[in-house]
Subunit: 329 residues, 2 copies
């Protein structure tokens, strides 16, 4: 009897030990300080059963911007590099592809000439490289590309340029029964090609910009074809709208890094119940990049001004993060 | 020792018994026959671990139309009754509301006069009764209304006119780790007011038609206001598109009842892996309504013609269902 009890105790302790260890040190890449404290305190409050601020698991909705919040966005968004490489590839297969100044510049990898064509030129390149195929074929193309493409400034794979502290934050929230959504200006079909593997976020929890598409039956096979028109840009005030449309609940945790996340931060952190908004502030020129108000990519200006008033926690990458990328020393 | 083992055995059997009992008799309101067999066979195949047709839980996506598939849609869609009652209420509060022939007819409950204004008239009534308020206020109005509104032909509450066999099917699929989505032509904000309570389907698993909306800050309070324009009609070829946009996975189980579900059936049942499409055929004039090819509401014509060829199981409500509504004898 004693012996059985003894074995029982060992088994129970064995089963509990990993959980206890994990709980003892969440967010290991976050330095002790106000940002880490705010996150730990928010989760503690939201999950304290029987307390007035307890949130039922179905209310634990966390939304994360992607570019600049979960992975690097400099010198330009990863999806732009994809569009340029695709343009090159499509022009190689069909010389008639490079039929306009913008497509020609993109196919030649000539950034200066492409920049001269303005926003319209870039939109044209994105449209031409993101349409005329099924969603499945497009995602396969993204998956192939992202398996080898590299950031030209850091010479690292884009997939190596995710933020280790944010991966830990995603895991930590999920371990506490939060649903972690990505709500990004990036194309939804583009992101779904890698979000599960990279962040543990399955396709149905990814909300993004959307192109036009159509249902059609080709040779008896029903499929969804990507068209070149833009249906919805998931940025600024579009983010809370998209969240209402797709989730139908107000998030209680919001992470962003730019003015494109302003309305999502405002909407997610207003009202009763424990709520937390965090802003990733790019302050680390040595380990990543330092930019905010004057950056054309990831411009952070108005949201930074409002952060004190609205109680958003500004995360200082240089001070608050021990480590930025997973494979860095 | 023997005694401890004995207690252990009792505990284990106690823990397992409910699951065994539930598995012994799923779908009690379905009569034995090809429809019930097709459903049981599909779930058995999809969940048979180690077999070639096994589906991982994340692939177990089931989509259900709502009107005519999960609840009754005669004499017209429930949401139309809501729009008419709202028009009456809004006109009572503000006589200037009934400013057009369609709104006047709706406010007076004059179906004949409303019908004379055509589709445009009905669209005008829906727009006027579904806008100018926050999403939360709109959902609260729907919840209040649906708690007491009744079907004029059957004098039953609309919430009592859900199909008992379909409630059992939803439960059965969920018990087998399927995610059950609603994909309906009904307004998404309208449906979310009751889908959790009525069907056990939370807001994030409801996909529907969508009106325009805008983010705004009123007296420092960020909110989402419903506008009167229509953004997206979730019907016909729109259904597979909406599924791709919101779920990002192809469903393996599709339930519908009309030609509005045709493309969703085609797309969801094409390709490898175990897949099942079912069509609820309204054949029971005594217990519900009997209609198909000539009905303006829930017209089932082309999908019925294609059902044999495409292998969709046509559920004969009169023959296949022991019981239709939960409270009927």
């Amino acid at each position: 009897m004693i012996r059985i009890l003894h074995i029982f105790v060992i088994l129970v302790i064995g089963a509990l030990a990993p959980a206890t260890q994990a709980a003892a040190e969440p967010l290991p890449s976050w330095r002790d300080g106000p940002a880490k404290e705010a996150i730990l305190g928010f989760v503690r409050t939201a999950t304290a059963k029987g307390k007035p601020d307890y949130l039922a698991p179905e209310e634990r909705i966390a939304v994360f911007d992607n570019d600049g919040t979960l992975w690097a966005e400099k010198p330009v968004y990863v999806q732009v590099f994809f569009a340029l490489d695709q343009a090159k590839e499509l022009a190689r297969r069909d010389p008639k592809f490079a039929s306009t100044p913008a497509l020609k510049a993109a196919a030649a990898g000539d950034f200066k000439a492409l920049a001269a064509t303005g926003r319209e030129g870039l939109a044209e390149v994105v449209a031409a490289t993101h349409s005329g195929m099924t969603v499945e074929d497009f995602e396969a193309a993204v998956r192939t590309w992202i398996g080898k493409a590299r950031n030209p400034e850091k010479n690292m794979r884009f997939t190596e340029m995710v933020y280790q502290p944010m991966l830990e934050l995603l895991d930590y929230l999920r371990a506490n029964d939060f649903k972690t959504y990505i709500v990004s200006g990036g194309g939804v079909d583009f992101m779904r090609a890698f979000t599960k593997e990279l962040y543990g976020v399955p396709p149905e929890l990814v909300i993004g910009s959307m192109g036009e598409a159509r249902f059609e039956i080709v040779d008896g096979k029903p499929q969804i074809m990507k068209d070149s028109g833009i249906l919805f840009i998931n940025d600024g005030p579009g983010k809370p709208l998209a969240i209402v449309r797709q989730i139908g609940r107000r998030p209680v945790f919001v992470a962003g890094n730019s003015d494109g996340d302003l309305q999502m931060l405002q909407w997610g952190t207003a009202g009763a119940a424990p709520r937390l908004g965090i802003i990733i502030h790019h302050t680390d020129a040595a380990r990543e990049w330092a930019y905010d108000r004057d950056s054309p990519v990831g411009r952070l200006d108005k949201a930074l001004d409002l952060s004190a008033e609205d109680g958003w926690m500004v995360v200082d990458m240089a001070k608050d993060w021990k480590q930025i990328f997973p494979n860095a020393e």
